[in-house]
């Protein structure tokens, strides 16, 4: 019952925030592990970089063309997205600045650590190569879009 309610809340809030179709979100949330293509689509749409009617394949293509595309290239579109890759795409898209190593390397593992530092990921779940469940993708996007809606963080933030 709790799981059903959580899914319902996520679908309603996600469709409200991004105008994403319920069919796509239903399909996404029914998966055990979030796939790379849909995750990248949702990340891009959360920042208004892709239209509402874009497909997961459009999201994957968009991600490949971004600076972090070299890390996306290591995954097929339908493969599970890892915690590190998800937060790398999300933080780069939302211009979230991170620690020294994240700034210097722009690597997924440091994006995951940054997500841990910001409190988005429980310390006990902080494995950069962990396959992320779909609800965690939606909650992660919600956190970042709320915290960094002004266009990226600063040292004072």
């Amino acid at each position: 019952m709790k799981r059903f309610l959580l899914l319902l809340i996520l679908i309603v809030s996600a469709s409200f925030i991004w105008g994403q179709s319920n069919e796509l979100l239903d399909s996404f949330l029914s998966k055990e592990k979030a796939d790379v293509a849909t995750t990248m689509l949702l990340v891009a749409q959360s920042a208004g970089l892709l239209p509402q009617d874009a497909s997961p394949q459009d999201g994957y293509s968009w991600a490949l063309s971004e600076k972090f595309g070299k890390y996306v290239k290591k995954f097929k579109a339908d493969e599970p997205v890892t915690l590190g890759l998800f937060y790398l795409a999300l933080f780069k898209t939302w211009n979230v600045k991170g620690g020294l190593m994240y700034s210097m390397t722009g690597a997924p593992r440091y994006a995951a650590k940054e997500a841990g530092f910001l409190g988005y990921v429980e310390p006990s779940e902080l494995y950069p190569n962990r396959a992320v469940p779909p609800y965690e993708v939606l909650t992660g996007i919600s956190y970042v879009s709320e915290d960094f809606a002004e266009g990226g963080n600063t040292d004072e933030k």
Binding site: S103, D155, K157
Partner: protein, 434 residues
């Protein structure tokens, strides 16, 4: 009996193996660099540094099968200098030690509400008044409703004596300097915790027993006897209204040093006022029972003692008080008032004033207190100002400056004392993790 133990071990191993899934892992490195100046060493003074390079590794097959490893290397050093009576400056060299650290290497997991861990692991009491040390152990935890229980038992004598902080007897002190294993002890603990007992109270209780297996040769060589002890702790904490937090804890210690009985206690009370989200004003009191010089030769257990001892001594160095002069728990009352403020997310500062007193005319942990004729209880008062800056999530530094007005029991070398009518210390800490 042996068969039963074997079956239990097999079950513990089989549970995680059944659930093996994709392997997930994480690792990292952390560098901690420190400088403190001046450190007074007898008739000399120096710049001290305590630097650590530590790594961690976490691996998970499933919730039921995980591993963790924490290790590294530590460097302690002091650049010693002196000034003679003709005011000639001399540099007396770097005195240092380097030693390995292996704090954790264990297999752990949980199955429904039952958690288990085997291998080197940390044990700490909830109030931070007894111990915070690694040991080689088997432990378990389980939840019953809102009650959380933990039990564990293990051995201390397979660790590097230099990197652990067991500090009760002279043997501990010697093994913390020599390249040797820590003193051999068995420890068992049980804890109970109930978060949110009421809207304003969390409660926890902790019991620890330790048995000392220091060899007869070590006892003779280090002039100390075996110290067997048990500790029982109760801690309460929570919010009072929306602007006050409190922390109250007490520990009773019962033991035997050779044939001498030991009955001691320590307690602490902290109350803080949170006027907003960025500042805190508070008062902390911590006090522990002590012995007189007639009953005890020094802070650590060793040498001859009276028939009955009452000085509290924690298992490891925890809740150390003071910055300019550090005092460990035992024959000490520390009363501090502090204010801290966080003007931005990356910067905070703190101002703290602390008065130190001893409860008996006897030894405390600081070697500056060594005059058996000085019978004042007032040890000194310290003012401390600290600035803490963390510009990035993985990088930060802090700067502290402390001044201490010493009481009569603090005795410095007479020549050095000319330069230090008031003691002071300044320090930098730098950390970077990746």
């Amino acid at each position: 009996m042996k068969n039963k133990i074997l079956i239990i071990l097999l079950i513990i191993l089989i549970i995680p193996m059944v659930q093996l899934g994709a392997y997930e892992d994480n690792w990292g490195v952390r560098l901690d660099l420190n400088l403190d100046f001046p450190e007074v060493w007898g008739s000399q003074f120096g710049i001290s540094t305590d630097d650590k390079a530590k790594f961690f590794y976490r691996g998970r097959w499933s919730d039921a099968a995980k591993i963790e490893i924490d290790g590294g290397v530590e460097f302690n050093g002091t650049f010693l200098m002196g000034v003679d009576s003709d005011f000639n400056f001399s540099y007396n060299g770097l005195h240092y030690r380097v030693y390995p650290i292996l704090d954790k290497i264990n297999f752990y997991g949980n199955y429904e509400k039952f958690g288990y861990k085997g291998g080197r692991q940390f044990v700490a009491d909830p109030a931070g008044l007894i111990l915070n040390v690694p040991f080689d152990a088997v432990s378990g935890s389980f939840d019953i409703g809102r009650h959380i229980f933990r039990v564990g038992a293990g051995y201390t004598g397979l660790q590097f004596g230099q990197s652990t902080e067991y500090y009760m007897t002279r043997t501990d002190a010697i093994r913390s300097w020599d390249f040797a294993l820590a003193a051999p002890r068995l420890m068992e603990y049980v804890s109970w915790e109930m978060p949110a007992l009421t809207s304003w109270m969390n409660i926890s209780a902790f019991f620890l027993a330790l048995q000392d297996f220091t060899s007869t040769e070590d006892q003779a060589e280090n002039k100390n006897k075996r110290f067997n002890a048990s500790y029982i702790e109760l801690k309460l904490n929570g919010f009072l209204g929306s602007h006050f937090i409190y922390n109250l804890a007490g520990v009773g210690q019962f033991g035997s040093y050779g044939g001498t009985s030991v009955t001691a206690a320590t307690g602490k009370l902290g109350i803080s006022w949170l006027p907003g989200t960025k500042s805190q004003f508070g008062v902390n009191v911590i006090s522990s029972t002590g012995d007189t010089w007639d009953n005890r030769e020094g802070y650590l257990l060793g040498g001859t003692t009276g028939n009955k001892l009452n000085q509290y001594i924690p298992v490891s160095t925890v809740s150390t008080q003071g910055y300019v002069v550090e005092f460990d728990l035992g024959n000490l009352t520390s009363l501090s008032v502090f204010y801290n403020n966080r003007p931005s997310k990356t910067f905070s500062w703190e101002l703290r004033g602390t008065a130190f007193l001893r409860n008996s005319d006897g030894p405390v942990s600081s070697l500056f207190v060594n005059d058996k004729n000085a019978d004042e209880t007032f040890l000194g008062a310290e003012g401390l100002l600290g600035f803490y800056w963390r510009p990035k999530s993985d990088f930060g530094w802090d700067w502290k400056i402390g001044v201490m007005y010493p009481g009569e029991p603090i005795v410095l070398d007479s020549f050095v004392q000319q330069f230090f009518p008031v003691l002071y210390k300044m320090g930098f800490d730098f950390s970077w993790s990746f």
